[in-house]
Amino acid sequence: MNALNVRTLAAWAAGSALVVVFLAGMYALAVAPAARDGLAAGPGGFGLPELLFYLLSAVTLAGAAAVAFVRNILHSAVGLLAALLGAGSLYVLLSADFVAVTQLLVYVGGVLVLVLFAVMLTSRITEVTVSNRSFGLFGGLLLLVAAAPVLVTVALVTPWPAAPPGPLAPSTAAIGDGLLTRWLLPFEVASLILLATLVGAVAIARKELKSDD
């Protein structure tokens, strides 16, 4: 086993350890007290939506960890696929069906294919060490340890004025109404930006033709 395999194994071990720590922390912080106090929904105290939520967040975060720590850029793209799909399914759990479908169409169908094309067109993907070098796993883990606990603590400790949400309901009609009334101007500006982006991307990426001067 050479050094590269050891590094890959270490990255995967770090990613799975992160997921395990997240799940264990979630259980210790929220699920266990809720089950003890009888606050959780359903007769079992731990219903299907909760199970789905934890599974989907585990998939999302595992994909994100793969994007951050895996050395092969192609594997990173597959991790990005998992992260985007997981985030899209979290939108379904949040009763945002239109956003979920848009995520599927635009991110998974568009942006990810674009990223894959860029990977194939640019990097020498057969040379794994060349294709996705990073400043080192140590620095990345250090930054993660510095940033993640602060954000997570803020999210858990702050007393958000959260009301219990209503039942899941489709929101597409309301979004359509909003886009044509209250958010009409941002909507049109977004279309303009997309047009400018289209032209700009083609103008930047095309090969320059040699002029005869």
Partner: protein, 102 residues
Amino acid sequence: MSIPLPHFLVVGALLFALGLVTVATRRNAVGVLMGVELILNGANVNFVAFERYVGGGVSGQVFALFVIVLAAAEAAVGLAIVLAVFQLSRSIDVRQADLLRE
């Protein structure tokens, strides 16, 4: 449906942190763009979660939609720039892309 709000916020925060790590440590420009996508997704999860638990209405979802649109635009232009840099110097290492400095 009794998943508390902070759980979604924690997922969003971890997505953001992992994206931050990706942007800071990757040397491959495409990898850096992937990190930006992760950061935007973390923000989007927060938008939709706050809209469902705190704000009400559809403002959060509309904002998330605009973020998705702008992320697609950013990815298209960013990857076009990456391709142009690659054609110029046969490398997309972000530490070597310092042509404008000279």
